[in-house]
Amino acid sequence: MTNDITIEKVKYIAKLANLYISDEEAKTLSKDLSDTLDFINKIKLLNTKGLKPTSNVTGLENVFREDKVSSSLTQEQALSGVSNHYKGYFKVKAVLEE
């Protein structure tokens, strides 16, 4: 079976996935992805007509919590995982806008 994995496609997917991929990595990845796809493409042979998809095996439905307020973290706790913060805000490089 064939698939349509190309270096360009790998780069496009990496962009979607917010991953930086070097040219070298793109090459290896395209081979790995291609091998994996060839393997999993076997399922295309199975007839699944009329079968409902299962995304949850618990059989649970309508699971809600009541609208009650519980305590939040302190600002210090919220920011405890990173060094990059400023006056109580998380800080990142400027995002492109305008």
Binding site: Y12, K15, L16, N18, S55, N56, T58, L60, E61, N62, V63, F64, R65, E66, D67, K68, V69, S70, S71, S72, L73, T74, Q75, A78, L79, G81, Y86, K87, G88, Y89, F90, K91, V92, K93, A94, V95, L96, E97, E98
Partner: protein, 466 residues
């Protein structure tokens, strides 16, 4: 002004933040506006590793209620999905939203139009805007753009992250900026009626995104306008925080599109921002972005299945909506459509009005006071309903009315005085000028210092002049 051979095609996407007590998927306080940054966050809404969403029942029910209020079908089966994209304000790297099984679909909202009243039926021409869907999702954090130590950076506050958000999407049925404005006002009114959101534009709890395009107008009357092919492009405008700005932004875009189309070109499909100071829209993100949201069913939240009794119960929780209330007010209280519309503009006013009537009826002391009089006091005398209770208002009207009950002789005396002082007006009237009568009525009422009633005065005046 839209040139004759072009037709605006406008659809709206509206985001409404619900006023639940807690957030959508965690117990953090939902009253985030104006709070110290990152103080209303927990592991769930900060998307710390291993955390899971647990949906808020009220938020889901309110979304369904809004769907019902917008005449939507509520599908029996519904689910949440993950919408995958990267942006620093989206902590999970995906937004929990709804894709192919939203809570409400195929609704409509009928609004008045700005067209003149139909002379045959003596009624305002109404228009039905179809609602494609109403779905539930979560809000993102807020970004702040700053320059710190000379370097441009973005600051993030996650207090708003995970707030329950309802998205309403219309079909592209709107044909003018004014129609859009009227629709939005009506929607705003309904949302406030059901009490699910403050829909405060300034706080961003109601956000508007018009989708605008323009097509060559077709005059084929046999063809349903909704079946015509839509233009092959569409421009979305963001950052709009008032109905008037929405109208202006749409007008700006329509002009822009037409001038491009007239050159034989097609406007670019894009997202634009609205600059309220300059009154223009601008290209928002020129950086080419890969858009493929890769929706898939949210495995962390079991699906939702409604029973008919559950839906009926939610339907029963929806109060009487403005259109119905207006009709009832006209019929029950014998007031004009104009007055009924004003009184029902906000639910608080409508309730206040009815409470006043109820008090008047129950206390039996105030026989002379009609619903019409009460309406008049609320509308024309601009009663402050937050300060004056309905009981107080009825008392007040009653007191004033007792003063107003000046006897006929007193009124006749004033009229005599006015007629003497205004011989020219009297002559004008006698020569057939009807306006002179109104002038005299005004003079008498002024002389009576508010004790005279207009209709009564007119009746007396006419009698005495003839």
């Amino acid at each position: 002004m839209i040139k004759e051979n072009f037709e605006p095609i406008i659809g709206l996407e509206i985001h409404v933040e619900l006023k639940t007590k807690s957030k959508m998927f965690c117990g953090c306080n939902a009253d985030w506006f104006g709070k110290v940054p990152n103080t209303l966050c927990c592991p769930v809404c900060l998307a710390l590793p291993g955390t899971l969403p647990f949906p808020n029942r009220i938020a889901v029910e309110w979304c369904v209620m809004l769907g019902l209020a917008l005449n939507c079908d509520i599908p029996v089966f519904s689910k949440f999905d993950r919408k995958n994209y990267f942006y620093p304000d989206l902590p999970k790297g995906y937004q929990i939203s709804q894709y192919d099984k939203p809570f409400a679909i195929n609704g409509s909202l009928e609004t008045n139009t700005n067209q003149p009243i139909n002379k045959l039926t003596n009624q305002q021409i109404r228009k039905k805007i179809r609602i494609r869907r109403v779905h539930m999702e979560e809000d993102t954090g807020k970004l702040l753009h700053a320059t710190i130590d000379g370097a441009k950076c973005t600051l993030i506050d996650f207090n708003r992250s995970g707030m329950p958000l309802v998205e309403i999407v219309t079909e592209p049925d709107i044909r003018s900026s004014e129609e859009a404005r009227i629709f939005l006002k009506k929607l705003h009114q309904i949302i406030r009626y059901i009490g699910i959101s403050d829909a405060d534009m300034e706080k961003g709890s109601m956000r508007l995104e018009p989708n605008i395009s323009v097509r060559k107008f077709s005059r084929n009357k046999n063809q349903s306008p909704n079946k015509l092919k839509l233009p092959n492009y569409k421009v979305e405008v963001k950052n709009i925080n008032s109905f008037n700005f929405a109208k202006k932004a749409i007008d700006f875009e329509l002009d822009r599109h037409i001038s491009i189309l007239e050159k034989g070109e097609v406007p670019a499909q894009e997202t634009r921002g609205w600059d309220e100071k300059k009154g223009i829209t601008y290209t928002q993100r020129t950086k080419e972005e890969a858009h493929d949201y890769r929706y898939f069913p949210e495995p962390d939240i079991p699906p939702i299945r409604w029973t008919k009794p559950q839906i009926s119960k939610l339907k029963a929780q929806i109060c009487e909506l403005p259109d119905k209330k207006i009709k009832r007010f006209i019929k029950d209280y014998k007031i004009s459509e104009y007055d009924a519309t004003i009184l029902t503009d906000e639910l608080e006013t409508a309730d206040y009005y009815e409470n006043s009537i109820k008090y008047q009826v129950s206390s039996k002391k105030y026989k002379g006071i009609t619903p019409k009089i009460i309406a008049n006091w609320i509308i024309n005398k601009k009663t402050d309903i937050t300060k004056v209770t309905p009981e107080k208002l009825v008392n007040l009207i009653s007191q004033k009315q007792q003063i107003v009950q000046m006897d006929d002789k007193e009124l006749e005396a004033i009229i005599q005085k006015v007629l003497k002082a205004n011989p020219k007006a009297v002559a004008d009237f006698k020569s057939g000028k009807q306006q002179a009568l109104m002038f005299l009525v005004g003079q008498v009422m002024r002389e009576a210092k508010g004790k005279a009633e207009a209709e009564e005065t007119k009746r007396f005046l006419s009698k005495m002049l003839n």
